[in-house]
């Protein structure tokens, strides 16, 4: 009898072992499918600029109104629209937009989602999945600000500027070169970047327009064509339309230039008060000068964090006992806004990073390494970054001297490390 019981016990243990193992296999197989998600992937949609809408304290119905206007004007990521007044090429947009697919002769659509969206995001807000891993962060197109261009600081880039960035990539960043793509594809991508940028600027303008509403508007934007086009869209699209005519007129480098003298002059300007490059790029040119500033994109988020912190501090000091019922309602509204703004910042903005001035001794220039590119950067500064324009304070021939000095820096021994040894790579970092 005891043997039978023992045998049964062993058998049941074995069965349990087998069952648990089989269950383990089944679980192992099922987990991936659960991880992959059960629902169908939703259609791609543009994300609202919630940081700006929270900053402007828009209500949800106002946000909805902005979203509706934007969809009516610009369509969706799968079906982009471009009002003729904006001057964008619809055929190019169609090539770049939508999901990735190709036809029997190999023509591919959905180029933006294939090549750009994983960093820049479907909306072009620089919040693609990979964004947090990149340093510098991918560009947020929505403010319509671009760094590397041939136009004056406040102007938009030309179409060719965007094409050049796409074709060459940006050295020292994660932006790759798309040189292997055909011209038609690069043209289409550049057009789509403009589309996202104009859409983002219009969105910002719409959100800011709520501030200027009269009482009689009752917090609702006018839907008239005059308002939308004359006050919101035209100022944006005109800036883009004139960009090709706003290219900086670069004088040729003086002929018969004594390069040694030019470099010496450039050095003088670099360290002098006139150009004052040394303030940020440092005495050594290693980019170790002023390093606590933010670029425009990070500054927005940094200031938003400051606003939330400041408001939270104020709210923390307030005593609800001394408030009237009206003040208490206002106070609760303030707390709700703070709470929402904080959540929005967590989910819709990346941690702000300070911008480091370029290390000029590495010879890596993001906007291009041609003398002409360096001239543009010094003449017009870098839009969106603390780099100021030398235009107006430094005449063109002296800008060329600075260009020549900067181009000599990677090969220059700066004399502060000891005259008995040359500068080594480590010193340049």
């Amino acid at each position: 009898m005891n043997n039978v019981i023992a045998c049964r016990s062993v058998t049941s243990t074995l069965v349990r072992t087998k069952t648990s193992n089989v269950l383990a296999v089944l679980c192992g197989i099922c987990i991936p499918f659960l991880a992959a998600g059960c629902g169908q992937t939703p259609a791609a949609s543009f994300r609202l600029n919630l940081v700006e809408s929270s900053k402007q304290r828009l209500t949800s119905s106002q946000e909805q109104q902005v979203a509706t206007i934007l969809t009516a004007l610009f369509g969706t990521p799968d079906e982009p629209l471009a009002p003729p007044e904006i001057g964008l090429d619809g055929a190019k947009l169609k090539l770049a937009a939508g999901p990735v697919r190709s036809d029997i002769v190999g023509r591919k659509n959905g180029l933006y989602r294939e090549h750009c969206a994983h960093c820049h995001g479907v909306t072009g807000d620089g919040m693609g999945p990979t964004a947090a891993f990149l340093n510098p962060y991918p560009r947020d197109y929505r403010p319509g600000v671009f760094k590397f261009k041939s136009t004056e600081r406040a102007d938009k880039p030309t179409h060719d500027d965007l094409v050049m960035v796409l074709r060459n990539g940006l050295a020292g960043s994660s932006m790759p070169s798309f040189a292997l793509l055909s011209d038609a594809k690069i043209e289409a991508l550049a057009e789509y970047v403009k589309y996202l940028s104009i859409r983002g600027e219009v969105e910002l303008a719409l959100m800011r327009a709520y501030f200027e509403l009269d009482d009689e508007d009752q917090g609702v934007l006018p839907q008239s064509r005059e308002f939308l086009f004359e006050e919101i869209i035209d100022p944006v699209s005109e800036m883009w339309a004139v960009a090709d005519d706003a290219v900086i007129d670069v004088p040729d480098m003086p002929s018969g230039l004594d390069m040694v003298a030019s470099i010496a002059k450039g050095k003088e300007l670099f360290y002098g008060n006139k150009a004052n490059c040394v303030k940020c790029h440092g005495v050594s040119g290693l980019g170790d000068g002023q390093a606590n500033d933010y670029d425009d994109w990070n500054k927005v988020v940094f200031q938003a964090h400051k606003t939330v912190e400041g408001a939270a501090e104020q709210a923390g000091k307030a005593s609800t006992w001394e408030m009237s019922a009206e003040e208490r309602d206002e106070y609760r509204g303030e707390l709700a806004w703070l709470d929402r703004f904080e959540t929005v910042l967590d989910g819709n903005a990346l941690r702000p990073r300070t911008i480091r001035p370029r290390n000029l001794r590495q010879g890596v220039y993001r906007g291009g390494m041609r003398p002409l590119d360096l001239y543009y950067r010094i003449h017009a500064g870098i839009n969106g970054a603390p780099m100021p324009a030398a235009k107006g304070t430094v005449p063109p021939e002296e800008i060329w001297d600075i260009v020549n000095y900067i181009r000599s820096l990677p090969y220059d021994f700066n004399g502060t490390l000891g005259a008995d040894r040359p500068m080594v790579a480590r010193d340049r970092m």
Partner: protein, 334 residues
């Protein structure tokens, strides 16, 4: 006979998975918008010249479909032969699973195209390695060497020794790595950076797990850990190969990241990231080298999974503990 067919299945599946990986790398899945036909033709009657000399995306996608169909046919032949040659119950269950999975995989592939849906694409990418594992297991269990060993030892252990646990863990971890990789490769651009961070963390933790388990498996096979199994040279070679593959895979993974998204400087504190030397070199998107690296990472992952399935079986892993009988009736009679 069954063994050779199973080996053929593994080889063709390997090519199929490589084509699948290339389809994802080049985002060519929607190069053929219809299914099961190809641009209105019966899949098998699509003009050869139009496919072979046609656009690259079409070549990959249609080639993937043709290979998938071939794998389906081979699986059916294998099932018939396994029954006819009276293979062990475990093998017969495996070939049934193979037929089920290949049909499921075909349907998922079709749905992925018809719905143009990334979620289905992810599931499709998870089922592929599962089928590959089944094919590798079938090839291993039907091999003469394994059958001879099993019939000699006649082993069905009541529990699992440490080597078996390690091999089983390695097999699961390798598979989960392919699952995590599938989530990263079929990336929905609408997900935010936070969700992506979790996916990357999962993949990195998985990589560490696979590395530790493969190292431990080598230790165990060389007798550094207590084991009830004979420490044969086969297991030593296999575990060492897996460890080598894993080391290569870590390097390939880093390279795949760099050619896809540049250096992951965002992982470093700003003070350190700003000190990393920059170069004028930029990654060229869609270059042959970058596609080779990214696809190679997937294919090597598949090879690690296949090798760990074999190691798991040789170590008397999970199937043995579940009481499966591996010796074919023909051999028992003989």
């Amino acid at each position: 006979m069954a063994h050779w067919i199973a080996c053929c299945l593994v080889a063709v599946t390997g090519v199929l998975l490589t084509f699948g990986a290339l389809v994802t790398t080049y985002e060519a899945a929607m190069a053929v918008p219809d299914w099961p036909g190809t641009y209105g033709h019966n899949m098998f009657l699509f003009p050869f010249a139009e496919w072979f000399y046609g656009p690259w995306d079409l070549f990959l996608e249609h080639g993937h479909r043709l290979l998938g169909a071939s794998v389906g046919v081979i699986s059916l032949v294998l099932a018939a032969v396994a029954w006819k040659t009276r293979q062990s119950p475990a093998v017969r269950w495996l070939v049934v699973a193979a037929v089920f999975l290949v049909v499921l995989q075909g349907l998922l592939g079709g749905l992925r195209v018809l719905l143009d849906d990334k979620t289905v694409a992810k599931i499709h990418a998870c089922t592929g390695p599962l089928f590959f594992s089944v094919a590798v297991a079938t090839a291993t269990l039907t091999s003469r060497r394994f059958q001879t060993r099993s019939s000699k030892e006649g082993e069905v252990h009541g529990g699992m020794a440490i080597g078996s646990w390690l091999a089983t863990g390695l097999m699961f971890a390798s598979y989960m790595q392919l699952v995590a990789g599938a989530q990263l490769r079929h990336l929905d651009p609408a997900i935010g950076p936070n969700a992506f961070r979790w996916l990357v963390a999962f993949h990195l933790v998985g990589a560490a797990t696979v590395a530790v388990l493969s190292l431990a498996a080598v230790g165990e096979s060389f007798g550094l850990l207590p084991s009830v199994y004979t420490r044969g040279s086969g297991r030593r070679l296999l575990s060492s190969t897996i460890l080598f593959f894993v080391c290569m895979q870590v390097l390939l993974g880093f390279a795949a990241w760099v050619v896809s998204w540049g250096l992951p400087l965002g992982l470093l504190p700003d003070s350190i990231a700003s000190r990393v030397p920059e170069t004028s070199t930029v990654v060229v998107a869609r270059s042959g080298l970058s596609s080779l690296i990214v696809t190679g990472h997937v294919v090597l992952g598949m090879m690690i999974l296949g090798a760990s399935v074999v190691l798991c079986i040789l170590s008397g892993g999970l199937p043995n503990a579940a009481g499966a009988s591996f010796v074919s009736r023909q051999r028992v009679i003989a």
